[in-house]
């Protein structure tokens, strides 16, 4: 390695050349974390949101009434805890806590996915509940009127509609997760920010390194939001429908 760079752009290209594979690896890890966290988190969010919107009346069996109460209490505590504490702190507690208290050696990546999922789940739960209660009550009555049970009405009519309405929100969660993965550096997950710390300390070029890092984050979030917009348009399907001719109709 000959002369060290002297300009900002010189340093940027030098760092990219020297640490290219690390940047790529960090980017991939960040995307994996964000993706796994969003998918698992949304599943969790739906479960919690559904539990929160269960209603029981006096005709439900005593067992199911008690069960629903207990479930609701558990999810309420969960949502409160994860919305009420910083993610960075949760990461420390989960990673070091699992090792110390239970002797489970979660690897940092798994802990990271866990923290992200639990956070996404806690935030999604509120939106899911809102999306469910926001569906026109007529939809539920229509379902009841043809004999659907509450569960059938939820799974076939209400949740699919709530899910469709939540897709933009899920996209936003994914974008937030991409950025939030950076806090996982505290438990040494080799995501983008963690890589950035390593690279910057090699030549003490903090500004240039984190300039590169920020561009990568920006690129990821920008591309993701464009893709989501396209996907959403696709999802609404054709604006038209084909008229079907009746084979049994008399031909004039």
């Amino acid at each position: 390695m000959g002369a060290t760079p002297t300009s900002f752009t010189g340093w940027v290209s030098f760092l990219l050349e020297s640490f290219g594979p690390q940047f790529v690896k960090g980017t991939i890890t960040t995307l994996e974390l964000a993706f796994a966290g969003t998918v698992l988190g949304c599943l969790l969010g739906f479960l919690v949101g559904i539990v929160q919107s269960i209603t029981v009346d006096r005709h439900s069996s005593p067992i199911s009434r008690v069960l629903v109460k207990v479930l609701k209490a558990i999810v309420a505590v969960y949502v409160e805890v994860f919305r009420g504490t910083p993610m960075m702190v949760q990461a420390m507690v989960i990673y070091y806590g699992s090792a110390q208290a239970y002797g489970i050696d979660l690897n940092p990546f798994v802990s990271g996915v866990l923290v992200l999922s639990l956070n996404t789940g806690a935030y999604m739960a509120e939106s899911v509940r809102g999306a469910i209660t926001g569906i026109d009550p007529g939809q539920l009555e229509g379902a009841y009127a043809i004999g659907f049970t509450h569960v059938q009405a939820m799974t076939r009519v209400i949740i699919p509609q709530a899910f469709r309405n939540l897709i933009p929100q899920i996209g936003n969660m994914f974008i937030s997760s991409i950025k939030d993965t950076s806090v996982l550096n505290v438990i040494s997950v080799t995501e983008l920010y963690f890589i950035g710390r390593g690279v910057s300390s090699a030549y003490y070029r903090f500004f240039e390194t984190f300039f590169i890092i920020s561009m990568i984050y920006l690129f990821l979030t920008f591309v993701t939001s464009r893709l989501l917009a396209i996907m959403e348009r696709r999802l609404d399907g054709a604006r038209d429908y084909e008229l079907v001719t009746d084979p049994e109709a008399e031909v004039a």
């Binding site: 005709h59 009127a145 043809i146 049970t149 429908y241 008229l243 079907v244």
Partner: protein, 246 residues
């Protein structure tokens, strides 16, 4: 009353301190077409909603085929599968096509095969003149078309009786006719129906019996010519004259 499909005895319903239905006795026999008329707020919808268990009565009993109905979740859905309901606001499932709207109850609730469900859905869509629109989503239909699909959806369940709650009140005037036509055809076929309506001519035309409600009670009931031409009670006469004069 061997023929009564539905019988309501001493039915009462209060929302908090507000008593909406009081001591309602009412029965529906096989093949009857019953119109329920009455001014706004008289409790007509609430009565239908009680019959379909969307509301729980505060007092009284509802008998279905001679047996008191049970509110246990399982019995509730079995009962509703046999008692169709058509709403003022259609309540078609927005996430399904017209065809799927009609099929889903047959498959999920009646547990008939997919082929059977599809055949039946197409049959009733044809009957209500909506066969061509089977691939449309509810949002792509006019109000009259939606209501006809809602009627087909109810018919697919092969109900013993269908309850209609102001099926044409949410429609533009030019679409009222097409929906009433479908209901009229059902009446001719002998379908048992209870229809809450403000369409007096229609009620007079197709009903075998008309029920007049006011302030939560059934004031009088009888064959249409009697109730419309020779009402026994002053309240009925007042209501009808208000209608005639617009």
């Amino acid at each position: 009353m061997a023929d009564a499909i539905l019988r309501v005895e001493h039915l009462g319903k209060s929302f908090g301190a507000h008593e909406v239905l009081r001591d309602i006795d009412f029965s529906v026999n096989k093949g009857e077409v019953i119109s329920i008329i009455g001014s706004s707020g008289s409790g007509k919808s609430t009565l239908l909603r009680c019959i379909n268990m969307l509301e729980e009565p505060s007092a009284g009993t509802i008998y279905f085929e001679g047996r008191p109905i049970s509110y246990a979740p399982k019995d509730k859905s079995a009962f509703r599968a046999q008692v169709g309901m058509v709403f003022q606001s259609f309540n078609l499932f927005n996430n399904m096509t017209v065809l799927k709207n009609c099929m889903v109850g047959v498959e999920v609730v009646r547990k008939d095969s997919k082929e059977e469900a599809e055949a039946r859905a197409k049959k009733y869509l044809r009957q209500v003149g909506m066969y061509a629109y089977q691939n449309a989503k509810p949002a792509q239909l006019s109000g009259g078309q939606k209501q006809r699909v809602a009627i087909a959806r109810a018919l697919c369940m092969k109900p013993d009786v269908i309850l209609f709650d102001e099926p044409t009140s949410a429609l533009d005037p030019e679409m009222v006719g097409e929906v009433l036509e479908v209901i009229k055809e059902l009446a001719n076929e002998g379908m048992t129906m209870v229809i809450v309506t403000h369409e007096m001519l229609f009620a007079r035309d197709i009903s075998t019996r008309v029920v007049f409600m006011d302030q939560g009670v059934i004031v009088e009931e009888g064959p249409p010519e009697q109730l419309f031409n020779h009402p026994e009670h002053q309240r009925t006469a007042d209501f009808l004259s208000r209608y005639r004069n617009g």
